[in-house]
């Protein structure tokens, strides 16, 4: 791990020395254990702040839209896919970027760890390859890293960045380099329920939502200058506390990400109420794969599915009297 951090710092140092008006976007230690936070570095002296560990959960691609100057960005697999989509949508140019790709082992869900600490506060953490040793105020506990990953990390099919200028941290050559298609096995249980049960689940989840729009703010693909929820002419979504307004917000948020969502889980991480937001996005990812054979963020050439069409797309869902 320390070797990896050293390599990231070296790559960033080379980049900063190369010219003027340059920014490195990476992670630094947060103010609490188990938290790393994004940082922006412009001077060589500040490079010591950079860290890399299992808590670098944020999707840094979200900081890129319309940013000026040269940027070096540290990316995981999911961040790199968001980057591809952003480049395709002309939010940033490839020439501006130096992409420091880091092969990801999955990010650790702090909430899951805290839930299993029996109320003890976390003081320190030691991260091994497969286990985490967490020091609480009175005792220390060992956690299996794999079990405490974020849900979206558990189903991640390409943890290695799809585009990069430098690739670091590749542990073994068996990890797939090219994007692998998803099986969406995590959706099977829910899809097997009948409509009433699914509606019940959806209603319960929507009931938790306080409409803070943190999911939208955290999403790297949500960069519209004016979001539909903020528009008042026309007012697409009502401002009332009626649940239908919340539902329409979530349905449309997911729909606007159809064929663009890279499954980085930023929305769910940002949600203060624990709403199962990814349920909707996952379904759309699956439909986009089944109907249009497209996985978001995998290459720079393929057009986003809703920006194009094929004359032989399926008509099977339509009324045929």
């Amino acid at each position: 791990m320390s070797q990896l951090i050293h390599e990231i710092k070296e790559a960033a140092r080379d980049f900063l020395r190369d010219g003027e008006d340059r920014t490195v976007i990476g992670f630094e230690q947060g103010s609490l254990p188990l938290q790393s936070r994004p940082c922006f570095i412009r001077k060589e002296n500040d490079l010591e702040r950079l860290v890399w560990n299992g808590f670098c959960k944020n999707n840094l691609a979200g900081y890129l839209p319309k940013r000026k100057g040269k940027i070096a960005i540290v990316v995981k697999g999911c961040d790199s896919r968001a980057l591809v989509e952003l480049i395709k949508e002309n939010q940033i140019t490839r020439d501006q970027l130096v992409i420091i790709g880091v092969a990801c082992n999955g990010m650790i869900d702090r909430n899951k760890i805290e839930a299993d600490m029996d109320g003890e506060s976390i003081v320190d953490v030691e991260e091994g390859e497969d286990v985490l040793t967490i020091k609480g105020t009175n005792s220390s506990k060992v956690f299996d890293r794999k079990e405490y990953l974020y849900d979206h990390c558990k189903v991640c099919t390409n943890p290695v960045p799809v585009i990069h200028d430098i690739l670091l941290g590749q542990r073994d050559s068996n990890t797939p380099q090219a994007p692998v298609n998803d099986t969406f096995s995590d959706l099977e249980d829910f899809s097997a329920l009948d409509g009433k049960e699914r509606w019940k689940y959806f209603t319960e989840e929507m009931n938790k939502c306080i409409r803070c729009y943190a999911c939208r703010n955290a999403c790297p693909m949500c960069y519209c200058p004016e979001c539909f929820v903020d528009a008042s002419r026309p007012q697409w979504v009502g401002k009332s506390t009626d649940l239908s307004d919340t539902m329409i917000f979530h349905l449309m948020r997911a729909f606007h990400l159809a064929g663009r969502c890279v499954g980085c889980g930023a929305c769910e991480q940002a949600c203060p109420m624990g709403v199962d937001i990814r349920k909707l996005n996952r379904r759309l990812q699956k439909d986009v794969m089944d109907l249009f054979h497209y996985k978001a963020g995998c290459n720079l050439e393929e057009k986003t599915p809703l920006a194009t069409f094929r004359t032989d797309d399926s008509d099977s869902f339509m009324v045929e009297p």
Binding site: W199, T203, D242, M247, T311, M318, V319
Partner: protein, 153 residues
């Protein structure tokens, strides 16, 4: 509800100006009978339909939504209906996934010469929505709690 207390579905039909609306017109001038439950909204193209229109219709208590446009390859704007087809396929899947009944929201192709087909589409959509009953889910502000889970048919 009509005067006799019997429920009749209210269905909004978004028809494209160039094909389906003309198809409806032909059905009318040819005196073809079809159920009177639809309210027609004329739009320039099926590609003009934003998913918001469909959700807003459901939210306002309409029992069904039909969107109809030109057959593939016959769009007045060349590709509006192809783009629409992709959007609709995803939207229909998403709505049914969260529990909106299958058939509340429907899509069809009807050309300007297909008055008979238009009548058949309306018959089929209306009879399907009659079997579903009044819309209860996604509806805003129905007294008595529109989000009572047991209200799902």
């Amino acid at each position: 509800m009509n005067e006799s207390g019997q429920w009749k579905p209210k269905i909004i039909a978004f028809l494209c100006n160039w094909c389906s609306y003309a198809g409806a017109d032909l059905a009318g001038t040819s005196r073809i009978q079809y159920p009177p439950n639809i309210r027609v909204v004329r739009v320039p193209c099926s590609g003009r339909i934003d998913p918001f229109f469909i959700l807003a219709s459901l939210q306002n208590g309409l029992d069904g939504v039909l969107v109809s446009g030109c057959h593939p390859g016959e769009c007045h704007y060349l590709s509006g209906n192809y783009s629409a087809r992709r959007k609709f396929a995803l939207l229909k899947g998403l709505l049914e996934y969260v529990g909106v009944e299958e058939g509340r929201v429907q899509f069809s192709w009807v050309s300007a010469s297909e008055g008979v087909r238009f009548a058949k589409v309306i018959e089929e959509v209306t009879s399907h929505i009659k079997t579903l009953g009044p819309a209860k889910i996604l509806v805003k502000n129905i007294p008595g709690g529109s989000f009572d889970v047991s209200a799902h048919p």
